[in-house]
Symmetry: C2
Subunit: 305 residues, 2 copies
């Protein structure tokens, strides 16, 4: 069943120990949508400038992504540049040119509004709320956020996530949001804020899923080469919600079991791991669903005992 | 079947965010033996001074640990003190008084020499070699080391581990030993150095086991409170080898499968997690095998999908 994805579309300049690319397609909405498109019909809501390249549009169209909600306005597309540390666990931002993204006011096409699934990428919480308010008939809605909103827009963020079914954040963000260093305590406290389900992403160390009555932990996939971790967390989100949408699940009504959610976390991890194998979105040009499912089985092999 | 454990016995002073203990029983041989004693008959080889307390002897005896190889000499027992960081992932050493441990020359009682299992705790590689050379009839031998030996005694260390079936080290040590940042490459390179089996401990992030043809990864157990991580890696080693000894496995002869080794990693993780629940060895005073097995089942619950 169809999924609406909201977030940034960007051009990125990225430097990792494996090399450097000055300008390539990026942004949360792109990574989320490409990942989720392997599972379910995906409809994007974002803004780009008049420099957005036809081949980038083609890549999205080739993945069956609905671009009716991709607004094109005069000006330049959001540009971000960063450099990763030797172990790729840290990065410094070298440039953030918001460009047309600065005035982004997400507008949902009428055809999107009855979609049952919604993934809100990391943008200002008030904008996330405005998108959710335009939807009717949601079965499952959730999203991502970041340290900036947690620190400087706390009340706005809390009001926003109160209406979400699930929240996907990384471990540092979970600690910042909850005030607890211990992730079990952090999770318990965050589950009091609204979401039924919390996913904590831990980069190379994997991911955790918490609900009131249970939790699930998976280690990260062990790649021989991490070329570029940019977008891995967003691809995780796309795989997670994509699988749940494909299955037609509904968290709110408790139609979804611990096993279903765990498998969604594995599919998230699978898509995040593929993302790291090449610069930017390159890996998704050739990736097949059979490869996705084979890696899902790999996870079973290296974690079962 | 019986297991010989060699390593340090110490008194430790430890400060964590949860509190401070000025002097408590510690040392690798103590943690390893207490953990392995839940699985198999354990025989300790170590040295203590004349300040070694009768109640500490009693604790070991109560766990059925053979103390014939625990040498008592005039002088003070090894003393170590350290302080952990807020997140307990780092620690600074405040004192290292080797005392009687400075002249430790491990001597194996005749009754130990035919034991089939050997765990060499972190001591000078030449001493580890001398212990192995005193054994006859080994089915499985391996051990631990640390950055100091890797950096400053490299050739001696390489000659030592060449004869081991398994090596248990942490991720930073695996990177230092191999020269590879990527753990999959690091593991592959270390398996060329002699051991058939490599276990990489990752602290709160869990553990990995590598053999030539397969690998296994488990996330760490999620405690609500980590009181004191001192000794957790040694307890992991004790649980790992203890389980293999209990089962009567033999890596050399390939009598042991991937599933057996994975379960040994889980038992290692279980014992490491219990260790962190209290200061020092406190948790082992009351721990039961039923609790150990229940936590093993917990691991299955939170990792299966």
């Amino acid at each position: 069943m169809s999924l609406v994805v909201v977030g940034s579309v960007a051009y990125d300049g990225v430097e990792t120990p494996h090399g450097r690319v000055d300008r390539m397609l990026g942004g949360a909405a792109i990574y989320i949508s490409l990942a989720s498109s392997f599972f379910t019909k995906t409809r994007i809501v974002a803004v780009v400038g008049d420099d957005f390249a036809p081949e980038d549009t083609a890549l999205l169209v080739n993945h069956g992504i609905d671009l009716e909600g991709l607004e094109r306005v005069p000006g330049k597309t959001f540009f971000w540049a960063g450099r990763y540390s030797e172990d790729m666990n840290d990065r410094v931002t070298l440039a953030t040119d918001l460009n047309v993204f600065a005035d982004f006011q997400p507008k949902l096409p009428v055809s999107y509004r009855s979609a049952p699934y919604l993934l809100l990428g990391n943008i200002q919480p008030a904008l996330q709320s405005s998108v959710r308010a335009q939807m009717n008939g949601l079965r499952l809605a959730g999203g991502d956020t970041m340290n900036y909103w947690i620190r400087d827009f706390r009340d706005e963020l809390l009001a926003t996530i109160r209406e979400w079914d699930f929240l996907l954040i990384n471990d540092a963000e979970a600690r910042m949001l909850s005030g607890y260093q211990n992730l079990r305590r952090a999770a318990s406290s965050i589950l009091d804020l609204g979401p039924h389900t919390l996913v904590i992403k831990r980069g190379e160390y994997g991911a955790m899923l918490f609900r009131r009555d249970s939790f699930f932990i998976v280690p990260g996939y062990l790649l021989e080469d991490v070329f570029d971790p940019t977008g891995a967390g967003d691809c995780f989100a796309g795989g997670f919600i994509g699988y749940l949408a494909e299955q037609g699940f509904d968290l709110e009504a408790d139609h979804i079991g611990r096993g279903d959610l765990s498998r969604a976390v594995i599919y998230g991890s699978v898509m995040g791991s593929f993302c790291c194998e090449c610069f930017g979105v390159e890996r998704f040009r050739t990736l097949t669903r059979a490869e996705v499912d084979a890696r899902f089985e790999d996870f079973r092999k290296f974690t079962s005992f």
